[in-house]
């Protein structure tokens, strides 16, 4: 069970879901065994990256209430075991992807594990307030990997899905950091509220949300998303934007803004729901299929 927790199952579930959406949205029929194995490879790869993250971050995880009970800081798994587990699982997942699907999918999977474990965890996280902006790319790869597993290529539509998650990550994560900034400060992690303050964080949440909103509608323009996707993106997007505006107008993260943290928590919840709904809409449209084109 500790090894399951080491693989960050909740993060893994979102990764698997977005990879599945990319795989299903790709315009080819795929053998179900090969498709299932590709998704398994993505899941194992995501878990491996999570294990490497927990190994490297054990020191700062031990300083934060949110992460102190993770298997390594809690003493349930030794750091070197977590590292070996992560490395072996990484190799296994990339090998499995190469055997099951396409070389491009295996290459992208390997790169995303490297990006999360090395570029984000070992480098960006402790050195810049833009850590999650750039590091968000690691979490944005799964739909492209799914698409590449199905077709062997990664066209514009696949990168649109990448862009969706990439632009979604900053407002999502900064909402969380508004109520965990004290812990990040204690652990020496330069999250935006720690280095630039809560007001600047609230402003950047709104700026990124405003950039993200039209981008969420872009798949409709290319024909990737249909009527259901448009409805979900519009209604959910309005809720997301309203929630971001409420955070911007609040004092969430300030010394006297404890009561307003509920707005940040609400945005955090809505952001997860919104991303899930967008990819669920794509899945429903393509898998059932219930696709009605909107773009001419």
């Amino acid at each position: 069970m500790d090894y399951v927790r080491l693989m960050k199952p909740r993060v893994m579930s979102l990764v698997v879901f977005t990879a599945l959406a990319g795989l299903v949205a790709a315009p080819v029929d795929m053998n179900p065994i090969i498709a299932a194995t590709s998704i398994l490879a993505v899941a194992v790869g995501a878990g491996a990256a999570g294990a490497l993250n927990m190994w490297y971050d054990a020191d700062i995880d031990a300083m934060m209430a949110r992460t102190i009970s993770r298997p390594v800081p809690a003493g349930l798994i030794r750091p070197d075991e977590a590292r070996s587990f992560g490395l072996i699982m990484s190799a296994l997942s990339v090998t499995l992807m190469a055997l099951a699907a396409t070389p491009l999918a295996a290459l992208l999977l390997a790169f995303s594990i490297f990006f999360y474990a090395v570029v984000y965890t070992m480098w960006l996280k402790r050195s810049t307030a833009q850590n999650i902006v750039i590091g968000g790319a690691a979490g944005a790869f799964p739909p492209v990997i799914g698409w590449a597993a199905a077709t062997g290529s990664a066209p514009l539509d696949a990168w649109l899905l990448f862009g969706l998650i990439f632009l979604w990550t900053p407002p999502h994560f900064w909402a969380l950091s508004l109520w965990t900034s004290k812990e990040y400060a204690r652990a020496g992690v330069p999250m935006l509220p720690v280095t630039k303050g809560a007001a600047e964080t609230r402003r950047q949440i709104l700026v990124y949300t405003l950039i993200f909103m039209p981008f969420a509608l872009a798949p409709v323009a290319t024909g990737l998303g249909g009527a259901i996707y448009l409805a979900v993106a519009s209604v959910g997007g309005a809720a997301f934007l309203w929630s971001a505006i409420r955070v911007f107008l609040s004092k969430a993260g300030d010394a006297d803004g404890k009561a307003d943290l509920r707005h940040a928590k609400s945005l955090f919840g809505i952001s997860i729901l919104y991303l899930f709904a967008l990819f669920a809409a794509l899945l429903v449209e393509r898998a059932l299929p219930l696709y009605w084109p909107v773009a001419s």
């Binding site: 090894y3 053998n31 065994i33 090969i34 194995t37 398994l40 296994l92 499995l96 055997l99 099951a100």
Partner: protein, 56 residues
């Protein structure tokens, strides 16, 4: 003349540690077995169609 190999001192495992190690070993064995089966099934899936279209 024989040279005795020094035996490193190893702290004995507690019953809980021994149990955990056994359980871990079983999971690794199961995982490896599943991997082998999966690679076999994948190979059959990918080769299957091609075998049927070979020249006789």
């Amino acid at each position: 003349m024989t040279v005795e190999t020094p035996t490193p001192e190893v702290a004995p495992l507690t019953p809980e540690q021994a149990k955990a190690r056994k359980r871990r070993g079983q999971w690794i064995a199961l995982g490896l077995f599943a991997f082998v089966i999966l690679v076999f099934v994948l190979t059959m899936t990918k080769m299957g169609a091609n075998i049927l279209v070979r020249d006789l």
